[in-house]
Symmetry: C2
């Protein structure tokens, strides 16, 4: 009755395969699934600090190494992981085979260091699964149209796992990390934070982009697009983890989670001319310099001018100011001010869009804790406020308590 | 006038790329050739002890790891070397590109750990050379018909270099090592040993199989088959090295070199029946147990029996005795004796075949030094004697002096 069994894709990060004991721990967990009759595809990152070590070697030889060669170098890390994992499973008497991006044929775009999957072949993997092997695939890497090796950038191994789950029509895609799921807030700060059983793709996307570093946005976006059921769980314990899936069959919670992000800075451009096209020009200039702008607030200034404030990531601040200074006259900017010590606090929940009282409740919680709100930004399922960085932890607790996210 | 320039394949072993300084040293040497207008293809081994380290990791996880997975693991070593080398050349402002066995398509047989090349594609390499890049290829590895990675076994990177030189019709194939050429004898033992300017493929094959560990036989055999001109030279100095090529235009030296091999043991089977098929049965039994037999000596024994002596490699001795004991009755063996402390001494030279006095001269030199000869074996261009291991160094010097190989 093979039909009753599942096809599961399981992804383990670098710390889960950092040494021999952990490799065997992962092998055991995969073998349990396999022995229960399931088809198992495993996606691995490079062991522990391997990728950083390889980058260090490259930088010592050429600090401006071409990304093509960096990708050629870095992808050896995952190849080491997958071959050692296959050996571990074979040592436990389970047939296993390791495959790299060439062997699977994970077709990607050409962009080295930040490629995206275009097409993933299934023939080789299905052939190996048919002969009842556990298939272990290198995460993070692809092959472009020149037959060159690419890497996928941040969160690449998660993306590999989701892509394989999508093309193989896997029943689920388990992402193993060092936390045991997605929480209503960072449990290191909010003591009564609670692990969520289920979140929607959209909620996860908002949470991921707001500093809950459990899953990378790209993998969640791909999971949403191909309707892959994700499970976020720990490689260190047997906790059930959090399921990420479509909302349809879920009860919509008012607020699913609270997220904080300290990696943000505010910039204000003062006294710009109040005429059409000026705001566009400002943000267009920043975009062309690869500076991502987040929350934007526009207010009326003196004498037919206006003031525009917006946030950027901390590491873009210096460059943003330089770009604005260089274009000050053209953009009709009278003055530029900035503030680095700010942080974003967000609440996320699919139930929000039909409940206008949520924002008011959030502001009330913050007001009761005497926390000043600098800026506000909202989407259908998210409300974000900018507060002073020193206030962020207190703000998190206040808002979490205010919505009793824990109940 | 591109037509006047050469296509050169240059191979560097693991010690030549063991660290940053050595990588840049190799890069510089390749760049000199490139800037002189030549097309340059570089073949590299894994850095320093990388391969041993990877084998150590594998053994700690699974001492009986499948060779397929070992090959998947080990081949990452060369991929690291080639990408770092490309970065080094780019740091020196020379365009370079690294390619692995998949990218070149080095088609090999299926046998993991000891594959052989079946076919090597040239399209990608020629394309990169056409755009005036130095092309850096992973040595030691191939891809089999299952799209799996194989390794070529001992001397694999030399073989890769010769295979590429053959299919690319290279003008020469330079094998860089830590010695600066092929010597008339081991210069650590025979102080007046002289570097040879030229040796024939056949002489090199005899020397290589007799313990002159400069080149592996497989690469010399392939070079002979495809008429690839080999140059053995040092990566540490600018010495011209030794050219290995066809004999046609060379003056044939009487004796080209003297080689010693301590890795040998003698076995004697005493009192076997003197009837047809018995000797064949003995060597067939050993061959079926993967035991290579070298020098064979047969002598008349007592009462219609004969005694057969032969040599095997030291590490085959134990197994050979076990196999012979197990088949003692069937092979009509009355007694088995053996001696581990023996060594082979050989003289090699293409001029030998037309000069019957060479053997006598060798024996005379040994006799004058009071060195006892246990067994003798000859080929058209080689004479080998078996002596006690304690005598081998003195024997080398005596024979080298006797032929004045140095003149």
């Amino acid at each position: 009755m093979r039909e009753e069994f599942m096809l599961v894709v399981k992804k383990f990060g670098g710390s889960s395969v950092a040494n021999k004991d952990r490799i065997f721990n992962v092998a055991q967990r995969c073998i349990e699934d396999y022995k229960a009759g399931n088809d198992v595809v495993v996606v691995l990152s490079a062991m522990g600090d391997t990728t950083d070590d390889l980058i260090g070697m490259a930088e010592s030889i050429n600090p401006n190494a071409k990304k093509r060669e960096l990708d050629m170098l870095l992808t050896t890390g995952e190849q080491v992981s997958v071959s050692l994992m296959a050996m571990a499973m074979q040592a436990l008497d389970v047939p296993a085979v390791s495959l790299n991006a060439f062997q699977v044929m994970m077709h990607s775009t050409s962009r080295y260091g930040n490629a995206r999957f275009k097409r993933v072949d299934t023939e080789r993997i299905l052939h190996e699964l048919d002969s009842r092997k556990i298939v272990i695939v290198t995460g993070f890497q692809g092959v472009n149209k020149y037959d060159d090796i690419t890497t996928l950038g941040r969160g690449g191994s998660d993306t590999t796992a989701v892509a394989l789950a999508a093309v193989l029509h896997a029943d689920k895609c388990e992402i193993y990390t060092d936390v045991d799921g997605v929480y209503t807030a960072d449990p290191r700060i909010v003591k009564n934070a609670r692990k969520l059983e289920v979140v929607t793709y959209d909620e996860m996307l908002e949470l991921a982009s707001l500093g809950a570093k459990v899953l990378h946005n790209r993998s969640v976006e791909m999971a949403k697009k191909y309707n892959v059921e994700l499970v976020v769980r720990s490689s260190l314990n047997r906790s059930e983890g959090t399921v990420v899936k479509e909302a349809s069959h879920m009860e919509k919670m008012l607020v699913t989670g609270v997220a904080a992000d300290k990696n943000t800075a505010r910039i204000s451009v003062i006294g710009v001319q109040d005429k059409p096209g000026i705001a566009f020009n400002i943000f267009d200039t920043l975009a062309k310099n690869n500076i991502n702008v987040d929350i934007i607030l526009q207010s009326v200034g003196r004498e037919g001018t206006k003031d525009i404030s917006f946030t950027v990531a901390d590491n873009d601040l210096e460059n943003a100011i330089k770009v604005l200074e260089a274009n000050k006259d053209r953009l009709t900017i009278q003055q530029i001010t900035w503030e680095e010590e700010v942080a974003k606090l967000s609440i996320v929940g699919a139930g929000m869009m039909s409940n206008p009282g949520v924002a008011a409740k959030m502001f009330e919680s913050l007001y009761n804790s005497r926390i000043n709100i600098n800026m506000i930004s909202t989407s259908e399922i998210r409300i974000t406020v900018l507060v002073d960085e020193k206030d962020i932890e207190q703000a998190m607790i206040a808002v979490h308590d205010g919505f009793a996210v824990n109940d």
